[in-house]
Symmetry: none
Subunit: 414 residues, 2 copies
């Protein structure tokens, strides 16, 4: 079963708002087994709306339309739909009553524009809106279903979840889709693809594998239509075990979590605490860890030591170390990790010192050069990396790498 | 001049990622006078890509394609484009050298998939990618220009700004659009609209005003087509002066800068230094400030004190203060600011302590309650805010508010 989403409204086309409605709808539609074929954003233009409806209807079983249902003159979706389906607008008494209640509850008075919101295409099934003035509409034509909803996100979401979603499930009787996501870190996409090529080749044709890369992680997602969810989940689990045998420790989790969330789970389970000493990452690792509610249980805090003076006075890095090896060196980063672990009295510490860019490069230390250390009471491990030339990406990559080093250090990998 | 954007990739269609590339591109294309007619997201499917290219080319002068350029088998955009334009893939020596440099700088080795990234359609103009492996492509057919870029946002943005944007400007010779952006903070959108209603009414019809709100700032952008740039800029300047007379100190800058960038300029100009003491913001303010290259001149660092123990031992907050007033209080946040200013020996300090959520609320201190202080050698000023219930938004809003308080404190406003 194919579906398409059409978003009507100028705000998306001029880059003023991000199209989060489609992201939300796509996930919901996919969860009930409707495959999104295309998402199309267009402006409030009658002939373009008709063109988009025709194109979508010719390929899909469902067309979901959002936006263009406001009371002002620029909103023409409702009139266009009435013409498209060869019907006329008639006043809907139920919707008019809803509107009166809605307006009165806000101590406002009904005006012509409000009353116009109760005029709806005669041939559609009307879906009422209790938290706004634009009603929803359901049309059917040549085996294709069309639904129209307001573009205001919270109105659209409530209307879809409470009314359209159950209506669609009962209408299309679609199969269940099962996803299984494996979270990996540390092996670049092309190398990973080579490593798992044989495994991938042996996947059944009805299972789809997607690589989803970002500086934070590389997700591998298996998807399939399922007639027996328990059986499919068991199959996914067995494929996951095969994958683990190949790329082992590069897998940090299954499901949705980021590394900083998984690190939190590991620390919580070990009843252990962490602090960070950050130079070039500027507090980004601390920010990631504390973005998780409840992180105060395992995270005591950070020292962002952006100057050598602070590295010495607050973290206890020796002046000779800085003079002999520089701020971006194995020796400095090790002393930073040990220093913050001692100061904050934690079980573990992460430290980072690097040249994020765009300036700061020296002989033998190009932009991107970064030393990272992880420590516990038994010792400290440091590693050198050369990331790229983009300051923000260097910071993100150093942060992810540091979290992954800590994960492997705590779990005694390598 | 019409343009269309086509995003290729399953991630958008299954609702896994939000299509921010299109929002960014739409704004950029609009700024050089190209009107976006349609934004279309489709999957990595050859016949569908061809169908979308045909549809877009029949109505628009420019087709901007993102995504589907990865090295793995599911990415088929490059092959499809080669077939669509009746050309073949050939190895591009320059791109191959770029790739070698890129791979070697990361201490990785070239593999077959990497090398495949250097194979490009013979008839296109190749645009090199210095921060990733997928090159950009420029095609022309029947008066329509097609450009193809990787879907990874930072690679796409760099490639578009540095290469494709100037190429498009020179190719289409679009009229000059002059923008003038005023950066404001602290007055909500609807209040601001009321305050400046008369000024807005008196703007000439050919000048467009856009309100661009976010938790970080509210931008007011004036745009107009210009035949004489110097004259238009002078006009914009005079409108800006009128606006300043109305909303004065709520304007923190003109241009593109965020508050954390403007703060950097102010500190640099005053030859002054800053440190932060952060609890609920978890290092986010420090991260923002250090996201600016060269910030080490004025920023010495931060103490993220996520536990009371660290607030006392590292920042010198008195145990009696925490016991009598709690961690989220005027007294604590003032001692944190003074403490970090003393420890880091800076001219200024920011401190934040609040309940970001989702847990941590107490009687009289709901989630969102946040105390912020700013300090210099002459004194410390603290203020209480109650933000919302969303953890991430609370952290963003507390960070922006703290930066704005520091701006007003340094500049002796209010």
């Amino acid at each position: 079963m194919n579906a398409e989403i059409i978003n009507i409204g100028d705000e998306i086309l001029i880059g003023q708002i991000v199209n989060t409605n489609s992201t939300w709808l796509a996930e919901k539609l996919e969860s009930i087994g409707l495959k999104i074929r295309q998402i199309t954003a267009i402006s409030d233009d009658k002939s373009h709306i008709v063109e988009a409806l025709d194109a979508a209807a010719s390929k899909s079983n469902l067309v979901v339309i959002t936006g263009g249902l406001g009371p002002t003159e620029d909103d023409i979706t409702k009139q266009t739909l009435a013409e498209y389906f060869g019907t006329k607008l008639v006043e809907n008494q139920e919707v008019l009553n809803d509107l009166k209640r809605f307006i009165e509850a806000r101590n406002l008075t009904m005006n012509k524009l409000n009353i116009k919101q109760a005029e709806l295409p005669e041939s559609c099934t009307v879906v009422r809106n209790t938290i706004g003035t634009a009603a929803g509409m359901w049309f059917e034509k040549d085996e294709t279903v069309f639904i129209s909803m307001p573009g205001v996100p919270f109105e659209m979401k409530k209307m879809f979840e409470e009314s359209f979603m159950p209506m669609l499930q009962s209408h299309f009787k679609t199969p269940e889709i099962v996803h299984f996501t494996v979270q990996t870190y540390g092996i670049p996409e092309s190398n990973l693809a080579e490593l798992i090529a044989d495994w991938e080749k042996n996947l059944p044709r009805y299972v789809k594998l997607a690589y989803l890369p970002s500086p934070e992680r590389l997700r591998l997602r298996l998807s399939t239509i399922s007639t027996n969810v328990a059986e499919t989940e068991q199959f996914m689990q067995s494929e996951y075990e095969k994958l683990r045998a190949i790329i082992g420790n590069a897998i940090y989790d299954v499901g949705d979590k980021y590394l900083h969330e998984t690190i939190g789970d590991i620390l919580r389970e070990k009843n252990a605490t962490l602090a960070t000493a950050e130079s070039c990452t500027g507090g980004n690792i601390s920010r990631l860890i504390t973005s998780v509610s409840g992180s105060s249980v395992y995270f005591k805090g950070a020292v962002v030591a952006y100057s050598n003076e602070i590295k010495m006075r607050v973290l206890g890095v020796k002046s000779e170390t800085l003079q002999s090896f520089g701020a971006v060196s194995e020796q400095t980063v090790k002393e930073m990790a040990v220093g913050v672990m001692r100061l904050y009295e934690t079980n573990y510490a992460i430290s980072v010192s690097g040249i994020a860019g765009t300036n700061g490069a020296t002989d033998g230390k190009p932009v991107g050069t970064t030393w990272i250390a992880v420590a516990d009471k038994n010792g400290v491990r440091a590693e050198r990396f050369v990331f790229g030339t983009q300051r923000d990406t260097n910071i993100r990559r150093a942060s992810s790498k540091a979290l992954d080093m800590l994960r492997k250090f705590i779990l005694n990998f390598e």
